[in-house]
């Protein structure tokens, strides 16, 4: 049947367009349709990507997935950890690191006897592509609090997320002992990774909640310029993010420093704040454009601040606007970042995704922002920024419903190392480096 169908298609194409190159020179408006036909594409053919071999390194002073440019698909999965003893926690960290190393590298899972369940879900095929995957491991406050031998080593600023005034937190979407941030080029790669982790650690951790997200993909710009992705409110999100390529800046804003007030084992790690923020998009779409732009503090089309500038990279000068006549004093971007010398201490590195989950009981879209940010000091970072935002006019259109605070340990140095080793050593647990 398939062969016959192909012949039919070929014949029709030959009649319509002539054969081969001559045909492809015709009717440029039909390029896309014809390209599919030319390759003999079938409805259920897998979409093609030339990015499946993109690969990030698991090893380094810092974990991957923090200053790594955000790919199109992301997920946070939060777990309850059952490992209690140092030995079990070590097994958890080692196994997790081993799986992450394999998944980020890509490769062929072992072939088992077909009387046994397969080693891999197989959803990406017999050879697992890296597809730009990163998996970032972070630990919640309860991970330390619930283990006497770890409690003294808890990062100094790690706390359990408290509800802000506009929050309507759902206990089933909050907190966790351990969180994985999984991001890659496709949702399927993230799901594959999550299923691999679940299958390999069934006795040591149990999944509590997860939230997947994505960001809209843009075509490359001819001049190579970068633009911030848009959130589900239609505004650019991330315009004022600090430059992740600036290592000195990241040392200041993102990474726990040496000789600070934090336990030594945390050096090179970072605090992760996660928030699931529902957006009332129907209502937002029924809000006058001028009001939307006043609430956010930017022009919707370009992302430029009010009062001059053509791009999102232009910087508003609040010192010339003390009354808020240009950018309202309660505009989101103004409350989030005062742009003073002092407020530099409150900078955070955002890495959010948009999420869309289905339909609420009221028949409205359940969608919003899977907000993720990293900072060297959770209190000066997210907690302070959120406090500044409390009461902002945007609250009428958003409702945080979940999330949590976590600490992201430093990265594994090499193949003999694993995430969490420095913590175990600090707790007096003898760790043998083996390759």
């Amino acid at each position: 049947m398939t062969t016959n169908d192909n012949k039919l298609v070929t014949t029709r194409r030959n009649v319509l367009f002539g054969v081969g190159a001559a045909g492809s020179a015709l009717a440029t408006g039909l390029t896309t349709a014809r390209a599919a036909e030319k390759q003999g594409g079938q409805v259920t053919d897998a979409p093609v990507s030339d990015k499946t071999q993109e690969r990030q390194s698991f090893y380094g002073l810092h974990q991957a997935g923090i200053v790594t440019p955000r790919p199109a698909a992301g997920m946070i999965a939060s777990f309850h950890v059952l490992a209690e003893t140092p030995a079990d926690v070590e097994r958890l960290f080692r196994t997790l690191s081993g799986r992450i190393a394999f998944l980020m590298q890509g490769g062929t899972p072992p072939e088992l006897d077909d009387k046994l369940p397969p080693a891999d879900s197989g959803l990406l095929g017999p050879v697992v592509p890296p597809d730009n995957l990163t998996i970032t491991v972070s630990l919640g406050s309860s991970f330390f609090d619930d283990r006497d031998w770890l409690a003294p080593h808890k990062p100094a600023r790690l706390s359990r997320m408290k509800a802000s005034r506009n929050d309507a937190l759902d206990a089933d979407l909050c907190h966790g002992d351990l969180a994985l941030q999984i991001s890659s080029n496709t949702p399927d790669t993230n799901i594959h990774a999550l299923r691999d982790v679940l299958k390999n650690l069934p006795d040591l951790m149990v999944l509590r909640w997860k939230q997947e997200g994505s960001v809209p993909v843009l075509p490359p710009k001819p001049d190579g310029a970068h633009e911030s992705a848009r959130n589900f409110l239609g505004f650019r999100d991330g315009s004022a993010n600090p430059d992740a390529n600036n290592a000195a800046l990241m040392d200041k804003i993102v990474w726990v420093p040496e000789n600070g007030t934090e336990p030594e084992w945390t050096r090179g790690g970072s605090y992760q704040a996660v928030r699931i923020i529902r957006n009332f998009v129907e209502r937002w779409d029924r809000t006058p454009l001028g009001e939307q732009e006043r609430i956010i503090g930017r022009k919707k089309a370009t992302g430029a601040p009010h009062g001059g500038g053509n791009t999102e990279h232009d910087v508003p000068d609040y010192s010339q606007d003390p009354e808020g006549t240009v950018t309202p004093l309660d505009a989101h971007i103004r409350l989030a970042n005062f742009r003073t010398k002092d407020s530099e201490a409150n900078l955070i590195l955002r890495r959010p995704f948009n999420y869309s989950n289905g339909v609420s009981k009221s028949g409205q879209l359940e969608q919003g922002l899977l907000f993720i940010c990293y900072q060297a000091d959770l209190e000066k970072g997210f907690i302070t920024v959120q406090r500044q935002l409390d009461g902002e006019p945007l609250e009428e259109y958003i409702k945080p419903i979940g999330g949590g605070f976590f600490f992201t340990p430093p990265g594994p140095q090499d193949e003999s190392d694993f995430v969490g080793r420095t913590l175990l050593e600090a707790a007096g647990h003898d760790v043998v480096r083996k390759s």
């Binding site: 309507a168 209502r283 009981k361 009221s362 028949g363 609250e395």
Partner: protein
């Protein structure tokens, strides 16, 4: 005395805020002064009723009269729901008077969960007034405080006019599902009050819009009528049927009317030249 003062302040606010960005040259800012003043009276009347009704309701709770308290719950809320866009200007009070269990991480057990729905939970789910005394006192105090604050408030014109749509957004986002009064299922009382409150605003500014866009006025009125006709089917001697009596078809009719009203009324501010 007070009304006069409010009027003159409103006038100034209007003249300053609305004039430069008029989208509709036919509606002069001064035209809005009377509707806003009339709305302020509507709000005051509702607040007066709210205080009186809340007193009777909380007295019944404190007297341990479960049946009486239950019977007063639906009607007591109506004057609050009718003026919700104004009541919500004070988010601290709105939270303590009208928040729902799912606004709080520990749901019904959360100490921050107070107000109408906390008492509703005790009355209808636990069928008791046990431990409700402090919640009743707090509700009465909050409602009294709300009345005081709003009496002293100059109503911002854009909030008043925007309130017509805001009420529809409330129904569309969180009420049409029957989640609001989940223990008592008196949601249809709330619907009625929300629609009446929205229609009141629309009716007050209607003459200003009618000249320019009579088709719009006809369409909006038609949708309000659809809602009234649908809700009327569920009218009882002393109020409304419980939410679970609402048929799937009627629920869809209401949802569509709410969404259409929300879409149309979201243009009302712009039509009146308000930011």
């Amino acid at each position: 005395m007070k009304l006069k003062l409010v009027l003159s302040v409103s006038l100034l606010t209007l003249a300053a805020a609305a004039l430069p960005r008029m989208a509709n040259a036919e509606v002069a800012p001064l035209d809005l002064v009377q509707p806003i003043a009339d709305y302020k009276i509507y709000v005051s009347e509702n607040l007066e009723t709210l205080v009186t009704d809340t007193k009777a309701f909380t007295d019944a709770v404190k007297a341990g009269d479960v049946d009486k308290a239950k019977s007063l719950f639906g009607s007591t809320r109506m004057s609050y729901e009718a003026i919700e866009p104004i009541a919500e200007l004070f988010s601290d009070l709105d939270g303590s008077i009208d928040s729902r269990a799912d606004d709080h991480e520990k749901a019904e057990k959360d100490p921050e969960f107070t107000g109408f729905h906390r008492i509703e939970y005790g009355l209808f789910t636990e069928n008791s007034t046990k431990d409700l005394g402090p919640f009743a006192d707090k509700l009465m105090a909050d409602v009294t405080e709300l009345n005081k604050r709003i009496t002293d408030l100059t109503l911002p014109p854009e909030k008043v006019v925007g309130g017509a749509a805001a009420l529809m957004e409330e129904v569309a986002a969180t009420k049409i599902s029957g989640e609001e009064d989940r223990y008592s299922h008196t949601d249809l009382w709330d619907f009625k009050a929300n629609f009446d409150g929205s229609r009141k605003i629309f009716d007050l500014v209607r003459p200003l819009v009618e000249k320019e866009d009579s088709a719009f006025v006809t369409k909006v009125s038609g949708n309000f009528d659809t809602v009234d006709t649908t809700l009327a089917k569920y009218k009882t001697a002393d109020g409304y049927e419980l939410y679970d009596k609402l048929t799937e078809d009627d629920r869809a009719v209401l949802a569509a009317a709410v969404n259409t009203l929300a879409e149309d009324l979201s243009t009302l501010r712009g039509k009146l030249g308000l930011n």
